[in-house]
């Protein structure tokens, strides 16, 4: 069985800073890491792989620095890593990204299962997984929070969507996206980490994927979505007010505040 895990390199969101004036993420302000949901995807793949003797391939799209995330995935147990990297891929939105990753998957070929995180913590769209399944014309289940049963032919999972819990069975090949509740990702052993630092990562550019892609589908050209600006919501601060003796005025004031904030309907 061959399992492909989709991995994105993201800024370390606990350290990254936002430039509120320019409305952009200052990516240089923090280190990078594997998108945390993708670590859950990788752990799911490793657990399946351990019981089915599967080959686990990590696939990513991004700058050369994303090789670091792929090596981290290899340290945690993936067998092989492939990076899709080309100037032509730059500026891709959800659609162009999905199309490009699909080309990579087609080039890998003969897959049984694709696993992705439910969303990335920097983009937050949660659409790439489902779009890839749609393009590949394979069934998919999103927001999987439990792996109930699996074998080389099918998966039975619990999926949590819109406050509903669904028990779903899917025939392979298929794609699932997983939530953070599905497992706790393992840490890499130090030995594997050191070995993986020297691991070779296969890099495919447009020329390698030409068979499955048209140039018009890539990067800015292939992206109907344009992000004009990122707005950082202002932090809400607590406010306090004190009334002395004039309690009826205080009550009127409070009712007014509650009505204004739509806490009370009076």
């Amino acid at each position: 069985m061959r399992v492909i895990v989709l991995v994105k390199q993201v800024p370390d969101m606990e350290r990254v800073k936002f430039d509120t004036e320019k409305g952009v993420i200052d990516r240089k302000s923090a280190g990078t890491e594997i998108n945390p949901f993708d670590l859950n995807a990788l752990e799911t793949a490793l657990q399946i792989g351990e019981k089915t003797n599967s080959e686990i391939i990590v696939l990513s799209m991004g700058p050369h620095s994303a090789e670091q995330s792929i090596r981290d995935a290899i340290a945690r147990g993936a067998h092989k890593g492939i990076l899709l990297n080309d100037k032509k891929f730059g500026g891709s939105d959800v659609k162009a990204t999905s199309v490009t990753i699909c080309a990579g998957i087609k080039k890998i070929g003969n897959f049984d299962l694709i696993i992705a995180g439910m969303q990335s913590v920097d983009g937050d769209t949660g659409q790439v997984g489902a779009e890839i399944a749609q393009i590949l014309k394979i069934p998919h289940i999103s927001f999987v929070e439990k792996l109930n049963e699996f074998d080389c032919n099918s998966l039975t999972v619990t999926s949590n969507i819109w406050e509903g819990i669904y028990l779903k069975k899917v025939k392979l090949p298929a794609l699932i996206t997983v939530t953070k509740d599905i497992n706790i990702p393992r840490l890499p052993s130090f030995k594997n980490k050191m070995l993986a630092r020297k691991a070779e990562v296969t890099v495919w550019g447009y020329d390698d994927l030409e068979e499955h892609l048209e140039e018009s589908q890539l990067g800015f050209k292939g992206s109907p979505t344009k992000v004009k600006k990122i707005v950082i919501p202002k932090t809400a601060h607590r406010e306090g007010k004190m009334w002395r003796e004039d309690y009826s005025h205080a009550v009127d004031n409070l009712i007014e505040v509650f009505k204004c904030r739509k806490i009370l309907e009076v």
Binding site: D12, E14, R15, S29, G31, E33, I34, P36, D72, I184, R186, L187, P188, S189, F190, K191, K193, M194, R197
Partner: protein, 461 residues
């Protein structure tokens, strides 16, 4: 409490900042000292919340005039009963002195009001790109004044030391009411005796710290956390001095035994990253570059391997590293319902394997266990004396004394972090001669001639 005292406190601090009703005061009478060993608080107290050092000074002068005890109180996270009033007292809660956090980038220092919590201070410093304060006392609700007068330790002390090593200056209200500045933004100061270092760790007996100047450090751009598992505690404890000897100084070198791991997992539902092993070491490293850290980590991993480590894993992302530190921080909450007391013995770091062996043997003799964790890089361990059927066991005093005597045998200390307070004062004679204790009492008399500040801490009245 006498109505005259209540009115005076309202006059000084304002009506809104005085509590005299027991139901409102209850939360101010105890700290985090285990209920099984803490003394009963005197309930004939009044809580006052002054807003600055001047108001504190007025309260202190009044207390001297009327011979009323004063007990200052920070976040109430202490473990030695120092904030528990034993006599009718004015409890000064310092929570309103929390406005100032001034970072001085030029001199690498920060000036902080005593009522600022450690969490608020760390949050502010963390926003700074290049500065760092290596204090992690285990409870972020602790207030700065309390951290200083208790000379807190915690993890991350291996590389930069404990709170004493970071303090450069203090503003203090003396027990006689004067407001004095001790130290300052100075790296050298040899004028007269060093009263500032006498104040640090004085457990509220020599003055009320109202402002603190801490030294700041340059923030390293990279951190890594390693965990190694071992079959036995001897191997785990023995490797740490070997690593330090190689010139590798981690921010933290922490030890946890399997009993701790199982209990924390059961209590919190958190998962420990390693499956096998009976003893575990956590190393937190910081450095300028990833390569530097991998180099140091490799040497640590090799050293662990030479001491029969079973496995060694690494965490690099902030989230994964924080999860490990959080797990470590849950030791006390996980055990708090089963504890009689957590001791905090320290010995020379190289003697840690011996004292762990001795403590384990003592526990066996009493047909019990003593879960052990600690800051092994500092030679400081926390071993627990557990309840039996929910109660303090009849052998409690005996086993505790035996464990403390063992620390003395190795030239150690009764308390490395928690302080003497009211809980350990009866063991002063174990560690100090009569003459030494008499000198300490003399110092107290010079600072506080009417013995109004924290009576019953460190010595009996």
């Amino acid at each position: 409490m006498n109505i005259e005292v209540i009115n005076k406190m309202k006059e000084i601090a304002g009506e809104d900042w005085v509590l005299s009703d027991l139901s409102q005061m209850a939360g101010y009478l105890y700290d985090e000292t285990e209920p099984t060993i803490r003394p009963k608080a005197n309930e004939d107290c009044i809580v006052v919340k002054p807003q600055n050092a001047l108001e504190i000074s007025e309260i202190i002068k009044y207390a001297n005039e009327k011979s009323i005890s004063v007990v200052p109180r920070g976040g109430g996270t202490g473990l030695s009963g120092a904030a528990i009033p034993l006599t009718p007292s004015i409890i000064i809660s310092l929570e309103r002195l929390n406005n100032t956090i001034e970072i001085d980038e030029e001199n690498l220092m920060v000036t902080v009001d005593c009522g600022v919590t450690l969490a608020a201070l760390i949050e502010k410093i963390d926003k700074h790109e290049s500065l760092f304060l290596p204090v992690h006392s285990g409870d972020d609700g602790a207030q700065i004044g309390g951290l200083v007068v208790e000379n807190a330790g915690g993890v991350r002390a291996v590389k930069h030391g404990i709170v004493r090593n970071h303090v450069k200056g203090l503003e203090v209200v003396l027990p006689t009411g004067e407001i004095v500045q001790m130290g300052g933004k100075l790296l050298k100061n040899n004028m007269g005796y060093d009263l500032m270092h006498l104040m640090i760790g004085s457990e509220g007996t020599l003055g009320i710290v109202t402002k603190v100047i801490f030294k700041l450090y340059s923030k390293m751009s990279n951190t890594m956390t390693l965990i190694a598992s071992f079959d036995n505690n001897k191997d785990a404890a023995s490797v740490v001095p070997r690593i330090l000897q190689q010139g590798i100084t981690p921010l933290a070198a922490e030890y946890l035994d399997k009993i701790n791991i199982e209990k924390i997992s059961e209590h919190t539902g958190l998962k420990w990253p390693l499956q096998d092993g009976n003893a575990f070491l956590i190393f937190i490293l910081d450095g300028e570059s990833e390569d530097e850290l991998f180099g140091k980590s490799e040497r640590i991993a090799e050293a662990c391997e030479s001491y029969n480590a079973l496995e060694c894993v690494i965490a690099e992302s902030s989230k994964e590293q924080r999860a490990i530190l959080e797990f470590r921080s849950k030791v006390y909450p996980a055990f708090c319902d089963e504890l009689v007391e957590t001791l905090d013995i320290a010995v020379a770091p190289s003697l840690i394997p011996d004292i762990i062996d001795d403590l384990t043997e003592i526990a066996k003799k009493y047909n019990t266990i003593t879960p052990i964790c600690g800051h092994v890089g500092d030679g400081n361990i926390h071993n627990m004396i557990l309840r039996v059927n929910g109660e303090k066991p009849p052998y409690f005093e005996e086993i505790k004394l035996e464990m403390l005597q063992t620390a003395m045998k190795y030239g150690g200390t009764v308390t490395a972090e928690h302080g003497t307070g009211k809980i350990k004062k009866k063991y002063m004679g174990l560690q100090y001669s009569d003459r030494e204790i008499e000198i300490m009492k003399g110092i107290k008399r010079v600072f506080d001639p009417h013995n109004i500040l924290c009576p019953g801490n460190i010595f009996d009245n």
